[in-house]
Symmetry: C2
Subunit: 208 residues, 2 copies
């Protein structure tokens, strides 16, 4: 083949990647508002003014589209919440940075419906399959990240006696509840999270 | 009118009430699994093998059906979780009874999809309207019930220094997270809740 035809093919490939990204990005927003079940090839085609058959060609099945959307949400979350916090020293400081970034992510928000997992896990938690597995795996990874920072701050002696996994479960639970509260118009939701975090990071005094 | 025709009318009314209850009860189960959005007159008619038009006559609009379902879920929750706990003395004991009843309600479960509010609030929290208002109001009432028992136990001197509203927010958040964890097959979810409750009810020791 001539270099020219390769250029043409590359151009098509690149446009294909770009349009795939555009579709997935729009689908993430839709899923954050109306759930992953709200996604359909037909609706995306109408929203984005492209042919339904080209979307179908790109993703093959609704489940594959949902999995692509979940992965894209994870990447956006990593970019907005996790990566900036990695600049902080490990332990309590990084944990506080993660929580502050998370609050900004839920408040601003990155996705129009707020936290992507809070919106979608309840919809799929009773429905076994790859979509549920991927959502649950990402939630687990997030909790493990919190627990790792707690263990680090524990090692530094600031949070003696803390069960890192249980505390991570609690912090994640409070973040998720705050996300719902924000959607319902509770202006004090972020302040509640900060107070809970303070109480959990305060030096333990005695039993438990 | 003759007494006979009154009997006939009463019979119809009674059958109407019974079928309304049957439909709503089935709709609660559907909504706990697939969300209030998953409800439709057509689907209920197929599931229950009745005419779509009779369901439509009973509820008029999908929104009215959703509101009837939310109210029925609240009644079932009161019956299963709240009423039995009222036998316990006010304060920490009643709070523990509420939490134990709640864990049984999420584990057994009363609704096939687990906690009705955990399944439906995330779906509607970004969508203003009567459905969201009713779901949010019921969540608020549940948290206020928890806070009231905390204040009572506070008054008894067992949980000095506790902010009842913040602690109620935390307890509700952990219950909701445990509900999701149970749906995902986490056998330790109930134990986590009990440990968090113990730590929150433990006598405060100093600052915060």
């Amino acid at each position: 083949m001539s270099p020219v035809s390769e250029d043409v093919r590359d151009g098509r490939l690149l446009r294909g990647l770009r349009s795939r990204r555009t579709i997935v990005r729009h689908a993430v927003d839709t899923a954050s508002l109306e759930g992953l079940d709200g996604l359909s090839f037909g609706r995306l085609a109408t929203d984005l003014d492209v042919g339904k058959s080209s979307i179908q060609t790109l993703f093959a099945t609704k489940e594959k589209l949902q999995l692509a959307v979940i992965e894209a949400a994870r990447e956006a979350f990593e970019e907005a919440v996790v990566r900036p916090a990695l600049a902080e020293p490990r332990g309590a400081e990084r944990l506080r940075a993660l929580v502050e970034r998370w609050l900004a992510y839920a408040e601003q928000p990155l996705f129009p419906g707020g936290c992507f997992w809070a919106a979608n896990l309840p919809e799929f938690d009773s429905r076994p399959g790859p979509v549920r597995d991927m959502l649950a795996g990402q939630q687990r990874a997030w909790r493990e990240r919190i627990a790792a920072e707690l263990r680090h701050s524990h090692g530094a002696g600031t949070t003696a006696g803390l069960d890192a996994d249980l505390t991570a479960f609690q912090i994640d639970a409070v973040l998720t509840a705050a996300n719902t509260a924000m959607r319902l118009g509770d202006d004090a939701a972020a302040a509640k999270v900060r107070r809970v975090l303070d109480s959990l990071l305060a030096p333990a005094s005695g039993g438990g």
